[in-house]
Symmetry: C2
Subunit: 313 residues, 2 copies
């Protein structure tokens, strides 16, 4: 059996990787960070310090110093990975890049270490087959940014040691994340499939002129998204019929089946359609203001995390 | 042009109707409540007072007394509706019940009044055709409970006066709700179509054994639902690619199209499937505890409303 994770290597230190570094260091683990880019290696600790400062300002982190004290930048992949119990890989999402870094990690890892890839769509079976320690590799897909949105999808390849899953689930929960287990590989895993189902319906409604993109957004941000920020879709419907989820399924299943049958001929999000949505969005938010709005999103996520911590579960 | 709404009639005073009464009275409007059931008429003000007390306890309402002072129970439909500028109808969701109450309201309403039905699925064209004032009727679909979740869908019938829509949108916004306009009737309107798309994918993933119902719920409650509680799906993806929504569509459209193509043969939520989900849910939450958990949900919605009010938009 694997013991508790003490030393973590974060490989790839862009937005996702640096968020992961915060997650692990905040949980009291020692974190070695490596990125191929010397510029990123030089900047990553400052970027993390700035994030921790924002979190401290909102009351989400008491004191950044001990967290920063557990982080170090390694000069080489081997230095970062060689002693790690757990490696979180977050390099660019291209299968060739994933395969190359997995083989490189494989060559220097302790055989009892575990390697999770932040891959958001490419399954581990597509890039870990040739690894000597392939039974120790899987996808560990976070939501961006990982230190503010806790969900993590654990997705094993067919050759991943199944005993790793309950262990890693416990370890990820111990770091404060919310891990789920995807029992076998599927395109888009769970999170992006659920997001995609809603997005596809949203695009179709917009394309057919039923509502503006802004009104479709309001339907979620002032309607569906409120309950979904503390309850999942099954619990939501379980509480929406006197007899629970099966009662709900009997009452409303036919309506939802009928809705589903109206969408059996999906077509791509065309360039024209995307341009129409972009035109509406750019009137609401000029392209130059996107970074500022993204910073607003992160402030809202921080404030929401503080709010959630104040609630009972 | 219609002027501002001053007097409201709430017809049907179950959970939805009494929530609407709070919405209108909280906004400073005079509200007359009528329900066919004498027992509901006798109990509704106490139920509303209890809701307001919960809201006051959480800091969402300063003083319930002036709100309660604007509410009265009418002894007849005519007494409630006769002087109203706006009628919100929330009777049982059956087309025959909707048709009967619409005709009854039609017979006693001022011809310049407007009648919104809380119908969550039946379009106004199915129950207002024979009304003398049918151009003044439409669907005004809230989320439950309306005083805690602000979204409202305005859905005109083909014969609804189109000038009502911008006017009612403004009036609903003035009450503190978040109105959207559904340009023409469609099964499920916008909100339940979006919910249905996500639910259908969730059921399919559960049915095929990719994850437990609890893990699918976590994917939303600790992942997708966080951003969606303050941003809609289009703004979410607009901020998730450097070039905005059209850039995102180009990068990720093919993945989502592929996911959609894997679900072109939807089947009903079978009794067996519902029973399997119910078994898992009942282990997590016995049926007898559903009401207590629903009260928890409402406390969370109140706390979330307080949190949202503290944020910048």
């Amino acid at each position: 059996m694997n013991g508790p994770i003490r030393r973590v290597a974060v490989v790839g230190a862009g937005l996702v990787g640096s968020g992961w570094a915060i997650v692990f260091a905040r949980a009291g683990l020692d974190v070695a960070i490596f990125d191929e880019s010397e510029a990123i290696r030089a900047a990553v600790l400052d970027r993390i310090a700035a994030s921790l400062d924002d979190m401290r300002g909102a009351g989400l982190v008491a004191d950044p110093q001990p967290i920063l004290g557990r982080l170090r930048v390694a000069a080489s992949l081997e230095e970062a990975v060689g002693e790690a119990d757990y490696v979180q890989e977050s390099v660019f999402e291209r299968v060739e890049a994933k395969r190359a870094i997995s083989l490189a990690i494989d060559a220097v890892m302790r055989p009892e270490a575990v390697v999770g890839s932040s891959s958001s769509g490419i399954p581990a079976s597509a890039f870990t087959e040739e690894c000597r320690n392939r039974a120790r590799f899987l996808v560990v897909h976070p939501v961006n940014p990982p230190h503010l949105v806790p969900l993590v999808e654990l997705v094993p390849a067919p050759w991943t040691d199944p005993e790793l899953l309950p262990w890693l689930r416990g370890e990820m929960a111990r770091t404060g994340q919310a891990p789920i287990v995807v029992n076998r590989e599927i395109e888009g895993f769970i999170l992006n499939r659920l997001q995609g189902a809603l997005l596809n319906e949203a695009w179709a409604l917009f394309e057919d002129g039923y509502a503006s993109a802004a009104d479709i957004d309001l339907t979620v941000s002032h309607g569906l998204g409120l309950r979904w920020s503390f309850m999942g879709p099954f619990e939501t419907i379980d509480l929406n019929a006197p007899g629970g989820i099966d009662d709900y399924a009997r009452r409303l299943g036919p309506l939802y089946h009928s809705i589903a049958r109206s969408r059996t001929d999906p077509h791509p999000w065309s360039d024209d359609l995307a341009a129409r949505a972009a035109e509406e969005r750019r009137r609401a938010l000029p392209l130059k203001d996107l970074p500022e709005r993204s910073a607003w999103r992160d402030r809202r996520l921080i404030a929401l995390a503080v709010h959630r911590r104040s609630q009972d579960s």
